[in-house]
């Protein structure tokens, strides 16, 4: 897993070195975007995993998945930060480029904020629901499946390998605390070094842009049975429990990306 990431980074570095100097900024902008996309993906998956913490789908494996996803997120964060600070410190960029980099910077800081909050919450919940006690008191939320596929998506691998010790919940929490302080320090440093006004950035997407982005994702129909999906028009206070299946192919197992 580490090797995959290292090789990716090496490729990226090679690309930048080989490309000509005039196309330098364009290429680095593209790299930034890909790295940010990766960070975004890992943040989303981390949040998904933290939601499952403390419920009946919690387990040894989940704690390990959390740890691995977190580590990957940190590596990506450091790489992103280095790249972006380098780009933003460069005074020779044009105005458009600079606006673009500021936009990417705002994306980066927002991702980091979400990550920080999720890490703090996972620390709290992890402390409240230990796994090594004789009787676990995990909340019966109705979720029973495993989160392997989500973690695999985060790590960009086909299958997850589990090889942690049995006392991962206590040992991991100590590491988590140090990591949280690290992330906090990193964000403070970033704010000191790079002066970007987050409110001055203009978003490129307009309202409803997310609808267009998922049309390209093949399985756009949602094969989920929703409980009590009331009519969009008539929504009085007391409606009956209705079960509706939206039209489209019903595929419970979506292919791994």
């Amino acid at each position: 897993m580490d090797g995959v990431l290292l090789s990716k980074l090496k490729n990226l570095i090679k690309k930048t070195v080989e490309s000509s100097s005039t196309a330098d900024h364009g290429a680095s902008g593209e790299e930034c975007k890909t790295m940010l996309d990766a960070l975004n993906k890992v943040t989303a998956c981390y949040r998904h995993l933290v939601i499952a913490l403390g419920s009946t789908s919690d387990s040894q494996n989940l704690r390990e998945e959390l740890k691995k996803t977190r580590k990957k997120a940190q590596e990506l964060a450091v790489a992103n930060r280095n790249k972006l600070t380098e780009l933003l410190k460069d005074k020779t960029t044009s105005k458009d480029d600079r606006a673009e980099y500021e936009r990417l910077w705002v994306l980066f800081t927002s991702s980091m904020e979400l990550l920080e909050v999720d890490m703090k919450r996972s620390l709290e919940i992890g402390q409240e629901f230990p796994l090594k006690v004789p009787t676990r008191h995990l909340i019966q939320t109705g979720m029973t499946g495993s989160t392997t596929t989500v973690a695999a998506r985060a790590m960009s691998v086909q299958n997850m390998k589990y090889d942690a010790d049995s006392n991962i919940d206590t040992a991991d929490l100590k590491e988590l605390q140090t990591e949280i302080t690290q992330v906090g320090q990193m964000m403070e440093e970033m704010e000191m070094k790079v002066q970007v006004a987050p409110w001055a950035v203009e978003a490129k997407q307009e309202a409803g842009a997310e609808l267009k982005s998922t049309l390209s994702v093949g399985n756009s129909s949602v094969g989920v049975i929703s409980i009590c999906e009331e009519d969009a028009r008539s929504c009085p206070g007391d409606e009956n429990c209705c079960v509706c299946i939206p039209n489209g192919t019903d595929s419970p197992y979506s292919p791994l990306l």
């Binding site: 629901f129 909340i139 203009e202 978003a203 842009a209 989920v224 049975i225 969009a232 791994l256 990306l257």
Partner: protein, 481 residues
């Protein structure tokens, strides 16, 4: 310039949420598979989702566990639902515990209401964007409103929101179907608690953010003890009213004002804050012809009530005009204006008041005793805001002790009592309530109202001037030919 964002999530202490720690312990016990509420399986077409509990079972369990009555257990259960520890599966907007076979489920700890982590707008924006994707653009009206709002003011972060929403959507699709259903229900329940739609009463009334933790133990330093000492000695030095006296006064106030309080009695026709129909305010406004019976009863209670109600004041002034003793009220109002008005206008107003009310031979001379008159006139040499206080109090007491009782016996008032109307209470259906919300209007502009009042005052001042006989003769009004 250094740009620093406030990222300290741990500092928003909300004192009303101090009970949450104990509630969490309770909920953990409640969901225990052996000793807690018995869960069942929910069958939805082909999927089976476990861990579903009955409203009845929850109530019975709370009664046995806490050893309380059914009503108390009902209230407690409703609080659990309103905080979001348990969420209903049907009727998901009504956050109450219904003690029959309605189904509930426990919420995952990530979505528990915790003191330190408020439900941030950026999370809500990501959730709405994801819901937009899932429902293919058909959000509910209140959700659509929130969405548009957030898009407007969170615009710099919108790219991030869209990216996160699509990623989270894809991550969610990796799970199996029953889990996806549960995830969807959970998150929807969380946001109903933290961003409630209309007429959903959730318990997340945050109140103001505080900078210190009210649950933290206060360290007893020397300074703290010293300040407590000073406070207690000063409290001892104050003269105290006997509680029997203050309590009887309190009880008397509550019993007299019981019918006029909108919290204790439902106002007729309807409470505008609840039903969004402002007929109540229109019926009690200054310029209405016939007031409501309730306000007329209120005027009888005391002179102060009569003066404070704008419609009551209009009625009283009408009575005074008939008695030709309107100068008292006019002086009172002029003094109030000087008291509350701009400091720059004080010299001009004091001059006007002296010329109109106080100097011997003034057109609207008020009848106050010599000592007060002397004090006031001397004070007006160097006028300040409160220079007319003594005279104003004297006039107020005069009106209260003499004119008020004459007013109550007068035909003006008795006629008004007969004519006062009792409006019929409103009964709105849900659709009409929604229509009321849409048809809310800002009402009469306060600038217009102030202009009207000024015109009336000017007219009253003109009418109160003494009749100039020479001018009337000159215009042949007295000529009987």
């Amino acid at each position: 310039m250094t740009i620093r964002t406030l990222r300290d999530y741990g500092q928003h202490y909300r004192p009303r949420m101090a009970c949450l720690k104990n509630v969490e312990v309770f909920v953990v016990e409640m969901q225990d598979p052996k000793s807690g509420v018995k869960g069942a399986d929910q069958k939805l077409n082909v999927t089976i989702i476990p861990h579903v509990i009955n409203g009845q079972d929850i109530l019975a369990w709370i009664v046995t566990k806490m050893k309380v009555t059914t009503e108390e257990a009902q209230a407690f259960g409703t609080m659990l639902v309103a905080y979001g520890y348990i969420y209903p599966l049907q009727n998901h907007r009504k956050l109450v515990l219904v003690p029959d076979s309605t189904l509930y489920r426990f919420q995952t700890p990530y979505f528990w209401p915790v003191q330190k982590w408020p439900a941030e707008d950026i999370d809500y924006a990501i959730y709405l964007a994801r819901r937009n994707i899932r429902k293919k653009g058909m959000l509910e009206p209140y959700e659509q409103q929130h969405y548009d709002n957030l898009h407007k003011w969170m615009n710099p972060k919108w790219d991030f929101i869209v990216m996160q929403a699509t990623e989270q959507y894809k991550a969610n699709k990796e799970r199996k179907k029953p889990d996806r259903v549960v995830l969807d229900c959970q998150e929807r329940a969380y946001w109903i608690v933290h961003r409630p739609p209309r007429r959903t009463h959730s318990a997340m009334d945050y109140g103001l953010d505080r900078l210190i933790d009210p649950n933290a133990e206060e360290v007893l330093t020397f300074d703290v003890v010293r300040r407590t000492n000073i406070f207690l000695t000063q409290a001892l030095m104050r003269s105290a009213v006997k509680s029997s006296m203050s309590l009887t006064a309190f009880v008397k106030f509550v019993t007299t004002h019981h019918n006029h309080d909108p919290f204790l009695t439902t106002p007729v026709p309807s409470n505008p804050w609840i039903t969004d129909s402002d007929e109540f305010w229109q019926l009690n406004s200054r310029s209405v012809d016939i007031p409501t019976k309730l306000s007329v009863e209120r005027w009888v209670l005391s002179f102060w009530e009569l003066i404070s109600d704008p419609r009551g004041r209009v009625d009283f002034k009408l009575f005074l005009k008939k008695e030709h003793s309107a100068e008292n009220m006019a002086f009172y109002e002029a003094a109030e204006e000087m008291r509350w008005g701009a400091a720059s206008a004080i010299p001009e107003k004091s001059q006007f008041i002296f010329n109109t009310f106080l100097k011997p031979g003034a057109p609207r001379w008020i009848n106050i005793d010599g000592r007060t008159m002397g004090l006031t006139v001397k004070g007006l040499v160097v006028p300040h805001r409160y220079v007319l206080d003594a005279a104003q109090t004297h006039i107020f007491l005069l009106m209260k002790k003499d004119t008020f009782y004459r007013y109550l016996k007068s035909p003006v008032h008795k006629d008004m009592q007969k004519r006062a109307l009792v409006p019929a209470p409103h009964v709105f259906t849900d659709a009409q309530l929604e229509a009321n919300v849409r048809n809310r209007n800002p009402g009469v502009s306060p600038i217009l109202q102030w202009q009207q009042e000024e015109e009336e005052k000017a007219a009253a001042a003109v009418a109160a001037r003494p009749i100039d006989v020479k001018a009337m003769v000159a215009t042949n009004k007295l000529d009987r030919k």
